[in-house]
């Protein structure tokens, strides 16, 4: 009968004789009763009592008072009872450290029990008792267990080393357990190997600098062998450990990949993802033209797709990772669009992730299907999902040009549904479509306007207002529409207010006669009645602009906008690389580096993908990176012939539209969009000048343009307004209409604005190398030539000193350049007007153009110059800093930057070290900007700043760079990516020169 009930209990069949009875004990004197039972002579009663104690513990009652009594039950040959007592100990030892010592003897004894199950149990539990005093007693038993004959005990002991290390790292090191653990990697039993690897990885993770896991080809080979034999979990430990290894070369990389790929057929999704991680990482090292590389790419797709039939939580993890993989290597899944179609019964988190991936995979080939699906989703009921689906349609339009028309009509269909949030979302995305394809789909504006009243979300209202402003000339009642918004101006969100202000100014510039009142109204609302500095600033700028020079105002406000980029939400390349190294982990789920959410992980090295063989990038940890001087052993610079350079130029469709207006600060938050310069159609200015309201005649004093950005917009009168300098506006202020008499004092705003241009003659100027002697008098019959180069106001100049060290007068100077890499040529004659007498020196600035004939020079920045005078022709060569060629409109749009970075093959990336530089990242950024190296974005991770910078050369080549600056570390790391990689080293030299100058 007894055994029968036990059996029932075990199978969960019995309902009366189960463990649940232990939960119902008598209430009064419970502890007392239990105490008596625990001390009973009868074994059975004792066991029952311990079970009751554990039951109480489980429901959260404090039974720590029974500690000595329970520990007394520890010495038993009943395994079940022993396990329960151990469980009790684990729970309460910490609260009763002194009494826990009582248990030590039994533990030590149990570690020598003939039954391996008990030995393992003892060593496992001892490790879980996190009491310092116990740990020292643990050492001897642990040492024995690590060498136990039974693998079950050894594998348990291996994990125990990690536990002990967590409690007392020093002790573990002193006792030499780490070495024993390393030896276990060569154990004959795969399970022991797996646990030893897991324990070592765990210890290494908390001590990143210990060289614990010094993986070498021999250990790697052992791990790969164990991989075939250990349990699914052991396989994950080993694969995760392998992922930390950096193979020496592509051949080793390939051979590891070959041995890891069979894991892709494992039934456990976690094994598959860990294998994917290893492959994605090591693949980075394989040459792309290798057959195996293609094979591997093909092998990755099917298992990734199969992950989508796993349990929903695992699907979610898989989808988040696929999102990364698709960004890193789009080719893997480009034909698998269909599997990401959303099923009705998918959980919402799976649906949203699938949508994201669908957009990433959308291409001309599959767009019809994708759109049909998205339209289907947009009629679902789940609001978040529907919104995202509508947004996705807009993104498809922007991404796949051929589909734009279809997308727009789909969106119109959706607007007809009149479902409020669908309409609003659609309007937001249509605005983006207008941005991407200006003047193409305005026919839909009428439909949009019909829905004006139903818009209650700021983003949708702002988008609609933008559309009305942008197409004001085609909307008959644009003024009425905008006016209707103006009524509740102060209740609107900032976003809407800013848009409204800009839209009305646009309207005014387009239809000045009817809208003067409206514009005055909005300007005064924005400047006088608002507390928002952004709004006020923008208001003042418009006001000033309109009042001083409407032609310029039109140029600025109605400028052609830069195109918006196709890909959105791209993860920054360095972060993406790091996340690829963390496939399968929480980091890959959050799309954040571990340092962002794990405490105490500061200072832990960020993982990076290994470099492809033969590329200039260093493969080791960052501090082993090549210094600038060591670049010479970089791959031979295959300089493109002139044609290639031109080819590069033509390929660069990423460049922003050339501006006729000097660079306007795009880093300005406010009004940036409209202020960006662009093509302009002229305007009969005089007509407007008389009508434009002006709040205050401007004071064009020759004050220095300066002042810090973001300062109070309500500047005092008399602060200089530098419009004339920046935009070349006519300084013709107009009288102030009487109605505006109360306008506040304005000024300064524009001065602030243009300070950011960073281009011409600003505080931090362009880098100019020190003067050197190019031609010695001895070699040139007494003519000494020294000089330097500079870039001033967008013009490259060669500053030359000619000294006559001969006895006779020199005259008839002329200069000529040999063909050179960047087509530099004198843009005018060498202006030495008077003959140069003996011991006389003349300083000449020779303007240079970069449109001359091109020929590759070695080094790239070499310039061969011939100078002629009445005596002879002299030749010399000099080298110019390549920064001379950095043009002023070299700031790339952030999105374009991301896309370009991704697009440039990683073969083209080169890494350099800049040593002993003590600037802060902001100071460095400013300094670099002076030489037209523009910071596109800045990201700070822990104490490390990453500056993403763009440079455009005179020949249209773009150079992208990432500068990593760690606080307190004078060594910067510079990664340079360029389609013409041979310029990279010269760029890095410039960085060094500029930063240290």
């Amino acid at each position: 009968m007894e055994w029968a009930s036990q059996l029932c209990e075990n199978r969960g069949l019995g309902s009366k004789m189960t463990d649940s009875k232990y939960f119902t004990t008598t209430k009064k004197g419970e502890i007392f009763e239990l105490k008596a039972e625990l001390n009973s002579d009868k074994k059975e009663k004792k066991k029952e009592a311990v079970k009751k104690v554990i039951a109480s513990m489980t429901v959260g009652k404090d039974v720590s008072a029974l500690f000595p009594d329970v520990v007394n039950c520890m010495q038993t040959d009943n395994l079940e009872l022993k396990k329960l007592v151990y469980l009790y100990l684990m729970n309460y030892a910490k609260s009763q450290p002194d009494m826990a010592i009582m248990a030590v003897n039994t533990f030590v004894k149990d570690c020598e029990d003939p039954n391996p199950l008990i030995r393992a149990l003892a060593v496992r539990t001892m490790g879980c008792i996190r009491v310092d005093k116990i740990t020292e007693y643990l050492c001897e038993p642990l040492r024995k267990c690590l060498k136990d004959e039974d693998p079950y005990v050894r594998k348990t002991a291996a994990v125990c080393v990690a536990k002990l290390h967590d409690i007392n790292a020093q002790l573990v090191e002193d006792q030499g357990f780490l070495d024993t653990l390393k030896d276990l990697i060569s154990d004959s039993n795969p399970m022991v190997v797996a646990n030893a690897v897991a324990a070592l990885s765990e210890i290494a993770e908390s001590h990143p600098n210990s060289n614990l896991l010094d993986l070498n080809p021999q250990t790697i080979n052992k791990l790969l062998t164990a991989l075939n034999e250990c349990t699914e979990w052991g396989q994950i430990f080993i694969l995760d450990c392998l992922a930390n290894y950096t193979p020496r070369d592509d051949r080793e990389s390939q051979s590891i990949c070959e041995r890891v790929t069979p894991r892709l057929s494992h039934a456990n999704s976690a094994v598959v993802l860990s294998a994917v991680k290893v492959l994605m990482k090591f693949m980075e090292m394989l040459p792309k033209d290798l057959d195996y590389y293609g094979t591997l790419l093909k092998k990755l797709a099917p298992p990734l797709v199969t992950l989508l039939s796993a349990e929903p939580e695992l699907q979610y993890v898989a989808l988040r990772n696929i999102n990364l993989i698709v960004q890193k290597r789009p080719e893997i899944l480009k034909h698998e669009m269909k599997v990401f179609f959303v099923k009705y019964n998918d959980p919402i988190y799976v649906k949203l992730e699938k949508l994201d991936i669908m957009i990433r995979l959308a291409s001309q080939a599959n767009i019809a299907q994708v759109l049909a699906e998205l339209k289907e989703y947009a009629t679902e009921v789940d609001v978040d999902f529907v919104r995202k689906a509508v947004r996705a349609i807009g993104r498809c339009a922007i991404k796949v040009e051929q589909s734009a028309e279809r997308c727009v009509s789909t969106l119109l269909d959706l607007i007809q549904t009149k479902v409020n949030y669908v309409v609003q979302e659609a309007i937001v995305v249509i605005k983006d479509i207008f941005r991407k394809y200006p003047n193409k789909y305005e026919s839909v504006i009428a439909t949009l306007c019909e829905n004006l009243d139903s818009l209650d979300e700021p983003e949708a209202r702002a988008a609609m207002i933008w559309i009305v402003g942008e197409y004001a000339e085609r909307i008959d009642n644009a003024d009425e529409l905008l006016e209707s918004f103006l009524e509740g101006f102060h209740d609107e969100s900032t976003q809407v207010q800013l848009q409204l202000l800009t839209a009305i100014v646009k309207l005014f510039l387009k239809k000045p006669t009817e809208t003067q009142e409206l514009v005055q109204q909005v300007l005064s609302l924005a400047t006088q009645d608002s507390d928002n500095p952004d709004l006020r600033d923008r208001g003042y700028i418009y006001w000033r602009l309109l009042s001083t020079d409407p032609v310029a105002a039109k140029e600025v406000v109605l400028a052609e906008k830069p195109l918006i980029s196709e890909e959105t939400d791209l993860i920054e390349p360095t972060l993406l690389e790091e996340l690829i190294c963390h496939i399968g982990t929480l980091a890959s789920v959050y799309h954040k580096p571990p340092s962002a959410f794990v405490e105490g992980s500061r200072g832990v090295q960020h993982k990076r993908l290994p470099a492809r063989a033969g590329s200039g990038e260093s493969t080791e940890s960052p501090d082993v990176g090549q210094s600038v001087s060591g670049v010479s052993d970089a791959p031979p610079a295959v300089i493109p012939s002139q044609g290639d350079l031109l080819g590069d130029l033509l390929n660069l469709d990423l460049a922003p539209p050339t501006t006729t207006v000097p660079p306007v600060p795009s880093s300005m938050q406010m009004g940036a969009m409209d202020l960006l310069g662009g093509g302009l159609d002229s305007l009969s200015g005089s007509h407007y000048r008389t009508e434009v309201p002006s709040p205050q005649p401007a004071d064009f004093s020759e004050r220095e343009l300066g002042g810090d950005l973001g300062g109070s917009p309500a500047m005092g009168v008399g602060v200089g307004v530098g419009v004339g300098v920046g935009v070349g506006l006519g300084p013709a202020p107009v009288g102030m209409p009487a109605g505006l008499g109360a306008a506040p004092a304005v000024g300064g705003g524009l001065g602030d604005l243009f300070d950011l241009g960073g281009g011409v003659g600003m505080t931090s100027g362009s880098y100019s190398p020190p003067r050197v002697v190019w031609l010695q008098a001895m070699k040139a019959k007494g003519l000494e030539i020294s000089g330097t180069f500079a870039r001033r106001g967008g013009v490259i100049q060669m500053d030359v000193s000619l000294t006559n060290k001969a006895m006779s007068v020199m005259s008839d100077f002329a200069v000529q350049f040999n063909k050179n890499s960047f087509g530099m040529a004198p843009a005018g004659p060498l202006q030495v007007l008077t003959p140069l007498g003996p011991n006389q020196t003349v300083e000449v600035s020779l303007p240079l153009s970069s449109t001359g004939p091109v020929m590759k020079m070695e080094p790239l920045n070499n310039l061969q110059v011939a100078v002629k005078n009445n005596i002879d022709v002299f030749y010399f060569s000099c080298q110019y800093p390549i920064s001379l060629l950095f043009v002023e409109d070299g700031k790339m749009d952030r999105q374009v930057f991301l896309a370009t970075w991704k697009d440039i093959p990683s073969d083209n990336e080169a890494q350099f070290q800049i040593k002993d530089c003590h600037l802060s990242s902001d100071a460095a950024s400013n300094k670099l900007q002076g030489s037209n190296i523009f910071t596109v974005a800045k990201r700070t991770v822990e104490a490390q700043d990453m500056l993403y910078q763009s440079i455009k050369l005179t020949n249209g080549i773009w150079v992208l760079a990432e500068l990593r600056i760690q606080t307190g570390n004078p060594n910067y790391t510079l990664s340079v990516k360029c389609r013409a990689p041979e310029v990279s080293q010269y760029v890095s030299q410039c960085y060094e020169l500029i930063l240290k100058n």
């Binding site: 969960g12 189960t18 496992r124 994990v159 057929s265």
Partner: protein, 424 residues
């Protein structure tokens, strides 16, 4: 690396049982779990990972339980979810049903299992058949000598014990193919695939070596064989008993099978399949008055075959009432709690076509809550037939004692995720 602690909670968030593996996360943190989950549910933004400060909860739900793992590290999330599902599998094998009661009724074994399944956050032995050899509540009855670690636990063959004996040595092989189909409202097939599974019931003595031969196209191409129909498997997943590297190199499926029932492998086939049961539906909704449904089902498979237990589930509005049905065969039933009409046809021969009409009333005051557009789903089973044409060509069984063993093969095709979108 993975979990710091594992909790089993009831639906109210009360901890039924837990195990602290690493001690680096405060066990009281779990109190935040359910409120956060509720908040997410309210916002409609459920997510399998929830974080609270530096603590991350990874959770799954099973019947009336939440299984939650906590961590404060960058854990391997896929490992944690796999482990939680494994936990469900093991508990289910032990207690038949895993639910609140079975946890309470067996808390001693649950503790023991939790201790054995994971150590310091590293999953250990999770094969329930092997665990049952040494974690039982009969343990106290056994002599000390008998409760030994089964060598299997640490063996390279960790899924099969030695010394198994059967009088009659047999293997039953089930080849089951599930058809997943997604059909658009306009009748075009958006996606379709076949997920196959080969299940074994092994009743073999000793440590037999098995080799399974399929008409795998890649294998045939490798061996230069060119006879009969072959099948291209897009992706194959194996039970851990199969030697993966062997398969990778020469496509041989060789293994020592676990005893009893197991899934040997699963595969996915991408080839577009004709939906075996084709549904045409006309659903007309007359607001404030009625819904009329006409569904035509057609068996698009061989005349010799018969689909069994066919169920066509047609969604109806939640406020529909007074159902009326007419069917050319089988029988239709309204299931109001699921807002479905279920049309059941016990036996559906290939090539045949059947019709069902349904009529519902709608209230004059309409439900203004938006309703989703659930698809029509279909369930069926067609025995003695695989839609892909996959075949077991042989099963070689070699054991050192040299016994003769018989393999038995059975084929079946069934519906998987079989959805047809409707217009309404």
């Amino acid at each position: 690396m993975s979990a710091s602690a594992v909790f089993v909670l009831d639906l109210k968030g009360k901890v039924l049982i837990c195990r602290n593996y690493k001690g680096d996360v405060d066990m009281a943190e779990i109190d935040h779990f359910l409120p956060l989950l509720m908040q997410q549910e309210e916002e409609g933004l459920m997510c399998p990972v929830i974080s609270h400060g530096s603590v991350h909860f990874m959770w799954i739900k099973h019947s009336n339980l939440y299984l939650v793992a906590t961590t404060n590290k960058n854990s391997n999330a896929s490992l944690v979810y796999s482990f939680l599902y494994k936990l469900v599998e093991v508990f289910t094998e032990y207690f038949k049903e895993l639910e609140e009661e079975s946890i309470q009724d067996n808390f001693v074994v649950v503790y023991e299992l939790l201790d054995e399944l994971m150590d310091f956050g590293f999953p250990q032995t999770t094969d329930s058949k092997i665990l049952q050899e040494y974690i039982t509540q009969e343990g106290n009855k056994l002599e000390v000598a008998k409760t030994k670690v089964p060598t299997t636990v640490t063996n390279a063959v960790s899924w099969r014990s030695e010394g198994i004996k059967y009088k009659k040595n047999e293997v039953f092989i089930d080849v089951i193919e599930s058809i997943n189909v997604l059909v658009n409202a306009n009748g075009s097939v958006m996606s379709s695939d076949i997920v196959g599974s080969i299940k074994l019931k092994t009743m073999l003595s000793g440590m037999p070596e098995l080799r399974l031969g399929l008409n795998d196209r890649v294998l045939f191409a490798l061996t230069g064989r060119d006879k009969g129909k072959t099948v291209t498997m897009e992706d194959v997943k194996f039970h851990q008993c199969v030697r993966l590297s062997r398969f990778e190199s020469d496509r041989t499926i060789s293994f020592i099978p676990p005893d009893g029932e197991s899934e040997l492998m699963s595969y996915r086939i991408n080839t577009q399949v004709k939906p075996l049961i084709w549904i045409e539906s006309v659903i007309e909704k007359f607001s404030h008055s009625r819904v009329e449904i006409m569904v035509k089902a057609k068996g698009q498979f061989k005349k010799q075959s018969v689909a069994n237990n066919v169920e066509v589930r047609v969604p109806v509005p939640s406020d529909a009432d007074s159902p009326k049905f007419k069917t050319s065969t089988g029988h239709a039933k309204y299931v109001p709690e699921k807002n479905l009409v279920v049309w059941t046809i016990k036996s559906f021969p290939g090539g045949k076509e059947f019709l069902m009409r349904a009529h519902f009333g709608l209230p004059s005051v309409e439900n203004d809550e938006m309703e989703g557009k659930p698809p029509i789903t279909v369930k069926f089973e067609i025995p003695y037939f695989t839609v892909s044409g996959i075949q077991v060509r042989y099963m070689k069984i070699i054991e050192k004692s040299g016994y003769q063993a018989l393999p038995w093969v059975r084929y079946i095709t069934q519906s998987g995720d079989y959805q047809l979108r409707t217009n309404i």
